[in-house]
């Protein structure tokens, strides 16, 4: 899908989470990423969509989740937007800190950052935008931490 852009606007449901993951899997495969990278990309998209549906839009049927997939020569760029109150990343505890290891939540953003080459999170008055970037021919292709 080089040079192409795919856009979706979905309801704030668990079905959207599965749809986002499956679409990311398909787009990443078609973009030529290796199997491990496809899994990492689709999981990062799943986690970001979970955040949008649960924490951003809080399952509100009036609020939508937008996804965009764009393949450039260098990157696959996936943007996930919600219409929630915003995400303050500084308030998310470090899931690797000893005191947080046994917490049952709070690992989503960490996994996203582990699996993607670059992640940009911005909050506006209309919600949160998460931009996930995976280099097509980057040195870090294949994941930064997953292979350690």
């Amino acid at each position: 899908m080089s040079g192409d852009r795919l856009s979706y606007k979905w309801d704030s449901t668990l079905e959207t989470v599965d749809n986002a993951e499956q679409t990311a899997n398909r787009v990443a495969s078609e973009s030529g990423f290796a199997e491990d990278e496809v899994m990492q990309i689709s999981m990062a998209v799943r986690e970001a969509t979970v955040n949008a549906v649960l924490h951003g839009n809080a399952y509100d049927p009036e609020k939508k989740v937008e996804l965009e997939f764009e393949r450039t020569d260098q990157d696959l760029v996936i943007t996930i937007r919600d219409q929630g109150k915003g995400l303050d990343e500084k308030k998310i505890p470090d899931p690797l800190a000893p005191e947080n290891l046994l917490k049952t939540s709070g690992r989503g953003i960490f996994l996203i950052r582990s699996f993607m080459d670059d992640v940009k999170i911005s909050t506006t008055q209309t919600g949160t935008e998460v931009k996930l970037i995976k280099h097509v021919h980057g040195e870090t292709a294949g994941g930064k931490e997953a292979s350690q």
Binding site: M39, E47, L96, S105, R107, F110, Q148
Partner: protein, 114 residues
Amino acid sequence: MNLKINTRQVDGVNIVDCNGRITLGEGSVVLRDQIKDLLAKGQKKILLNLGDVNYIDSSGIGELVSAYTTVRNQGGELKLLNLTKKVHDLLQITKLYTVFDVKDDEATAIKAFR
């Protein structure tokens, strides 16, 4: 594929064979209910066989942590068996691999319960 669970008992250890995905929603609930059910019956030696779990997300990881702490808080033991590479890698990068008692052989795992 959603999570399917089958439980069997060997030498007093409850082996929970998991097959499918442990993810937000049904997969996590199925596992949670199974652990709750075993504990309600007084069964506190639990071996989670994850050999056929091909996918787990952060909610699923949270569910494993919840199962581990719930069983431990009731004086029981929960161990993990037969991790797939994907699950193994996830537990490594989240630093949970050393928290869980992970086994790759069922007989050895059963003997390891006190």
